[in-house]
């Protein structure tokens, strides 16, 4: 009973919705609202990675590349091409999907370490392009992101962006949960455990991997667009190696394959540096230490470990 409740789709969504609704009530200042909005955005990006890594078992160390593409889409589209920001966001998502398709098709044939390094290389190249094409992207200093207006309404203010990002996360979580319980999700999870057996019952392993990669790329792209629009400014750092690693760390620290875990992991890695600002110098050392500690001491991740604990108590 408890077990079904803990894993039911509705319960997860309700939990998320309640948390998203409660934060503004409890937040003492808009600073906290901003941090929470950042958590939702990064959780959204990490959810894509949950589908790719947690469901389908394919690692990507370059997903910040998609984050960067999405972010620069809403910056370059309106500023350089005169496109509507909302349209730019959609086009950015489409572009991420296309790039994921083109890049994923060859490299998803690789496995394990090889795939890790290939995706890492992809992220590196995106960051390199964003840094080097200064005429379009503003170079290492980044560029201003024009404010979004939808039907004459100027979207601004952290309040507004809090609800937009929270809503986007809920939608992202809903879609991810839907996939998990569907034929496609079963195929993803099957090839995670045994590609040979999955192919042995007719799963087209290559195309399923590619599908997961494309979905995850679009997730990260949309998250990147939201991040850029919310901050009003973007630098190539968004696509940097550290962000890719942080995304993977969110997914694993929270609990590989768990939607709630992904949000918890994102919260952890976004809030922590804010809490460590007084130790600014030590931030990187602490982050590295934490990643190591979690991987060694809690390899299953926070949420699955908690869940097991709760279930054992009840039993």
């Amino acid at each position: 009973m408890l077990k079904t409740l803990l894993s039911s789709r509705l319960a997860v969504l309700l939990l998320l919705a309640v948390v998203i609704a409660l934060v503004p009530v409890l937040a003492p200042s808009s600073f906290y609202l901003r941090v929470a909005a950042l958590v939702w955005v990064f959780a959204l990006a990490a959810l894509g990675l949950t589908i790719l890594m947690g469901y389908a078992g394919q690692v990507s160390l370059g997903h910040a590349g998609f984050l960067g593409i999405g972010a620069y889409a809403v910056a370059i589209g309106p500023a350089r091409l005169g496109l509507d920001p909302l349209l730019s966001l959609v086009l950015g998502a489409v572009l991420c999907g296309l790039v994921a398709y083109v890049v994923g098709k060859p490299i998803l044939r690789l496995k394990g370490y090889y795939l890790a390094i290939a995706t890492l290389g992809f992220g590196l190249i995106v960051a390199l392009v964003l840094t080097s094409e200064g005429a379009i992207t503003g170079g290492p200093d980044g560029m201003q992101v024009p404010r979004m207006t939808v039907l004459g309404w100027r979207v601004s203010g952290i309040q507004t962006w809090y609800w937009i990002t929270g809503g986007a996360l809920l939608i992202g979580a809903l879609l991810a949960l839907n996939i998990q319980a569907s034929p496609s999700g079963r195929a993803f999870r099957a090839l995670h455990d045994s590609e040979i057996a999955a192919a042995g019952v007719g799963v087209d392993v290559a195309s399923k991997k590619l599908a997961a990669f494309v979905i995850s790329g679009v997730y990260a792209g949309v998250a990147g667009s939201l991040l850029a629009l919310m901050n009003g400014f973007i630098t190539p750092e968004a696509a940097g190696f550290m962000h890719s690693i942080e995304l993977v760390a969110m997914v694993i620290i929270g609990g590989l394959g768990s939607v709630v875990g992904t949000v918890v992991g994102a919260a952890f890695l976004v809030v922590l540096p804010q809490a460590l600002t007084m130790l600014h110098e030590y931030e990187q050392a602490v982050l590295g230490l934490l990643i190591m500690a979690f991987m060694i001491l809690l390899p299953a991740g926070i949420v699955p470990s908690l869940r097991r604990l709760v279930l054992e108590r009840v039993r």
Binding site: I125, M242, E281, Y282, A285, L287, I291, M295, I296, P299
Partner: protein, 329 residues
């Protein structure tokens, strides 16, 4: 969000220009030279700078290979040993230690870090999935960088060249004396490693463990010690590489990332786990980069190398010298 300033590539962009700038001085000497000769000289110039950087990649790749063979772990912190070697020497010399002793202490420090990494992070995570191991060593790499920016600083540093900075002219191109140190040092290390593995009992134990861990344990080899040795050795090799190349390329707390990437790519191109492949792969990546920078675009040098690596991987997933493995089901 911890910010890794995207300046690493800037460094690597700089580094070739750096080399080129010093070489250009030498170019003026070769005035009696036709167009074809100029093309040839330029080509040779790129070969020199490619081999120099490639030698360091080869050392990093060799480190990867040692650890990978002994433990199946890819140590993403491999590049940070290069940084420790370079930065350690810089700061020790600044504190008044003579170069040879500074080098020695820096290398020993890197070895200690390598041993600690094995003891505190790899050993406790035995049996973890590849993804977990990737994240552990990446975490270690971030940690090392974090500590390095506190212990050292966030500035670029250089070392004086070991034997002068007067470029030597060869076939219309020029080469820095330090390049000979880098390439020669790499060859000496490779030879030393070969001697160690082939001619000493403990070296043979490393080879045996690489071939079959279980069997090695059964014949009484202390596998844990062998793994620790592999980590220590790979750290030493990386650190020496860092010392040798710092007079040419400068160093900073975060240069390890790109060295790790290129070194890993080199190990893969050569065929993961094959020491000779690692050396050849390293030199190849160095050359590809130099030619990419020279003939295509110095901005996209890193991308050129990566695209080339991807092509190699996709055409020959087992690398140049790797064996094809048949999946058993």
């Amino acid at each position: 969000m911890a910010g890794l300033v995207p300046a690493i590539h800037v460094l690597f962009g700089d580094e070739v220009e750096h080399v080129d700038a010093r070489h250009k001085a030498g170019h003026d000497d070769v005035r009696v030279c036709g167009a074809g000769c100029k093309v040839m000289a330029e080509f040779l110039q790129l070969v020199f700078s490619g081999l120099t950087v490639g030698a360091v990649y080869a050392l990093v790749a060799l480190g990867f290979t040692l650890v990978y063979n002994a433990s199946d772990v890819i140590n993403f912190a491999q590049g940070d040993f290069v940084m420790i070697g370079g930065m350690g020497t810089v700061f020790l010399m600044a504190a008044g230690v003579a170069l040879p002793f500074a080098v020695l202490i820096a290398v020993v420090a890197a070895v200690l870090v390598g041993l600690l990494l094995h003891r505190l992070a790899i050993e406790p995570a035995r049996g973890a999935s590849p993804v977990a191991l990737i994240m552990i060593t990446i975490g270690a790499s971030i940690f090392i960088k974090g500590v390095a920016q506190i212990v050292f600083d966030k500035q670029f540093h250089s070392l004086p060249a070991f034997s002068g900075t007067d470029p030597i002219a060869i076939g219309g191109a020029t080469i820095l004396p330090q390049s000979f140190w880098v390439i020669g040092g790499m060859l000496a290390l490779v030879f030393g490693l070969w001697l160690f593995l082939e001619r000493t009992l403990i070296g043979k134990a490393v080879l045996a463990t690489a071939a079959n861990r279980l069997a090695a344990r059964l014949v009484g080899i202390n596998v844990t010690v062998v793994l620790a040795l592999a980590f220590g050795l790979s750290a030493a090799i990386g650190a020496v590489g860092g010392v040798l190349v710092t007079p040419i390329t400068l160093t900073r707390y975060d240069v390890g990332t790109l060295f790790a990437l290129k070194g890993f790519a080199a190990a893969m191109v050569g065929g993961m786990g094959n020491p000779i492949g690692a050396v050849v792969g390293g030199l190849l990546i160095g050359l590809m980069e130099a030619f990419g920078a020279g003939y295509l675009s110095s901005t996209y040098k890193d991308a050129v190398a990566f695209v080339a690596i991807l092509v190699v991987l996709l055409v020959m997933p087992q690398g140049l010298f790797g064996r094809r493995s048949v999946e058993r089901v």
